[in-house]
């Protein structure tokens, strides 16, 4: 019974804590946390693929950007309303992930990493190439009037935080349900020993592709939400840096833990936020963190915690 009680209580507790934070946080951190929660969804999407299915991708900026532009372009050029545009963003993320996944899964290991990196790079360059529609690096702003969902103004700080919280909570329980489901267990089995999983009769390729599509949908949702909540769509979000950041967040928080991505994203966001006040070279922190993590704590914060104290942590 505790096997079900503890994780359930923990995650409901985290969700309630973050809800309470809406009323307690000072203004600056209120805005920052709305951003972190949205980015944490991005990281959770990355974690489904990397942490559970064991597929290390270097091209997740592509899925985030697919959501961002899948939502932003129709709103900007076709005057689509926010609600269908958001769904379109999720769909774009899943679709792009399905296409990239189907091709990239023919490779493994280092080749898989390079293929995903190359696809993301091609996607980034494509956004720059269609300058007329995407405005390239400069990006475009989504008008405040358009950013309303069911009559609620997403640009208002309260609504924005609660929307980000809702997205995060839904994503968290989706991931929790997924990793505790039989399919999630199969993914872990594939990560741990692909040959054995195949020998036991599981269709390894289908499970992996499924994980990639779920990951793409979550990242697409994060991208679409980011664009809607903060009103800006730009090519920076498709650059290599945004493929590396989710990897960093997940590694820091703990790959293969449901709450690791949130912890990693929060920690890293504030670390970079604080250091960017001191120097322009704020990515130095990210680099140093990556090297230190691979050297000293490959399991991440929650991974270490699980290993040492809480083996029940999902």
């Amino acid at each position: 019974m505790t096997g079900l009680m503890k994780p359930g209580a923990l995650h409901v507790g985290v969700a309630l804590l973050l809800l309470a934070a809406n009323f307690l946080l000072p203004e600056y951190h209120h805005g920052a946390m709305a951003r972190v929660l949205t980015l944490a969804v991005f990281a959770m999407g990355y974690n489904v693929m990397f942490g559970y299915a064991g597929l290390l991708s270097l091209g997740h900026a592509l899925f985030f950007a697919a959501g961002l532009y899948g939502m932003g372009l129709p709103m900007q050029h076709l005057g689509l309303a926010a609600e269908p545009a958001f769904l379109l963003g999720i769909f774009s993320g899943a679709l792009v992930a399905a296409v990239v996944g189907a091709l990239a899964l023919r490779t493994a290991g280092v080749a898989f990493m390079i293929v995903t990196l190359m696809f993301a790079q091609a996607g980034y360059l494509t956004i720059l190439y269609f300058l007329e529609y995407t405005r390239g690096d400069e990006g475009f702003v989504i008008a405040r009037e358009a950013r309303t969902v069911f009559g609620l103004d997403l640009a208002a700080p309260e609504v924005r935080y609660l929307a980000a919280w809702l997205l995060f909570t839904v994503a968290m329980f989706v991931v929790l349900a997924l990793v505790r489901s039989p399919a999630g267990r199969v993914l872990v089995a594939i990560r741990e020993n692909e040959e054995r999983a195949r020998m036991l009769g599981y269709d390894v390729a289908r499970y992996k592709l499924g994980a990639i599509v779920v990951s793409g949908a979550l990242c697409g949702a994060a991208g679409a939400a980011y664009g809607l909540l903060f009103g800006y769509v730009g090519a920076t979000f498709a650059s290599v840096q945004y493929s590396i950041l989710p990897l960093l967040w997940v590694l820091l928080g703990g790959a293969g833990t449901v709450l690791g991505p949130l912890l990693g994203a929060t920690f890293m966001f504030y670390l970079i936020d604080l250091s960017s006040g001191i120097t322009d070279a704020y990515m130095l922190i990210a680099g140093a963190a990556l090297v230190a993590l691979t050297l000293f704590a490959p399991a991440g914060l929650l991974g270490e915690l699980r290993r040492r104290a809480c083996p029940w942590l999902p």
Partner: protein
């Protein structure tokens, strides 16, 4: 200018790019071949070479008051050694400790990339800075055309190159031959090839594999640095300049077959020349999109021929 002279000009620019690219890509290929790891920070070694070259040349020229060619010559000797030493240290401090595990090495070298790049931003600043070429004569090139009075030689306006660009091409050829000689004729080359062929057997025969790895990593970085020193009088030193060489080296190494010297040089020629020519006639962004997609497709559909006999 007519099409013919224009194409010649584009080919010359392409040849300079191919020369620099073959050196850079060879470094990446050597590291992958011998150590079986992908070094994502390779482009930053290139950038470090350019920045080191700027510091050395500026110091020699301005502080010591020596002529420009001396500054360049000293930079050509010092910058690769400095970058090689840095790479040696990085190998010993980071790569060796993660046991050259392919995936963890990639993550660690991504970290290294940001550390080097951002530290350069802090120490060198965000500006692009030039290095004086040691010599720079403008050479007008003739073009042969079938005119009214039979074959005629004339000098189209704008069709020219510089002696320095020709020097870059020649220097790259000399260096490539030198690397080939080291690999095929010296004891160090033999040891490196033995390690590449079978790490464990090499170890069993008393080859200090960890030192060979550190040496290989340093040589790979040094090659990128030499390429950067050569290109810096044409293209200024900047802290973000490592991105393009990294991407192009990846493309070259994957198309040419990892760890194969001949394949790498051939692919560098192909990619360098076609990039030079395509960029003249088409949008460079489109050329890059096609090149990256090509690499992805080659890896997806022909991985066995590209990562050697053993899939990585």
């Amino acid at each position: 200018m007519d099409f013919g002279p224009y194409l010649l000009l584009a080919s010359l620019e392409g040849a300079v790019l191919a020369a620099v690219l073959s050196l850079t890509a060879l470094g990446l290929s050597l590291v992958f071949g011998v150590m079986r790891v992908v070094n994502v920070a390779h482009g930053e070694f290139f950038m470090l070479g350019a920045v080191a070259s700027w510091f050395v040349a500026t110091f020699v020229d301005e502080t010591l008051g020596a002529p420009a060619w001396l500054g360049f010559a000293v930079a050509l000797a010092v910058a690769p050694l400095a970058v090689g030493a840095f790479a040696w240290a990085a190998d010993r401090l980071v790569l060796e400790r993660v046991g050259y595990d392919p995936e963890r090495t990639i993550v660690a070298t991504i970290g290294l990339l940001y550390i080097v790049q951002q530290a350069t931003l802090m120490g060198f600043g965000p500006d692009a800075r030039p290095v004086q070429p040691p010599f720079n004569h403008r050479l007008a090139l003739p073009w042969i055309e079938w005119g009214e009075e039979g074959l005629a030689l004339y000098w189209p306006w704008g069709l020219s190159t510089t002696s320095y660009k020709l020097f870059v091409i020649a220097a790259a050829v000399v260096l490539l031959i030198a690397v080939w000689l080291v690999l095929s004729r010296t004891r160090l080359g033999l040891v490196m090839r033995a390690t590449q062929f079978d790490r464990e057997t090499a170890q069993a025969f008393g080859i200090p594999v960890d030192r060979v790895f550190a040496m290989t990593f340093a040589i790979g970085a040094g090659l990128a640095a030499i390429a950067a020193v050569l290109i810096v009088p044409i293209q200024q030193a900047h802290y973000l300049m490592g991105g393009d060489p990294l991407l192009l080296s990846f493309i070259v190494v994957i198309i040419g077959g990892l760890g194969s010297l001949r394949g790498t040089v051939l692919a560098a020629l192909l990619i360098g020349m076609s990039d030079g020519i395509i960029s003249v006639f088409f949008s460079p962004t489109l050329a890059k999109i096609l090149a990256t997609l090509l690499v992805a497709m080659v890896l997806v559909f022909r991985p066995q021929g590209l990562f050697g006999a053993r899939p990585a």
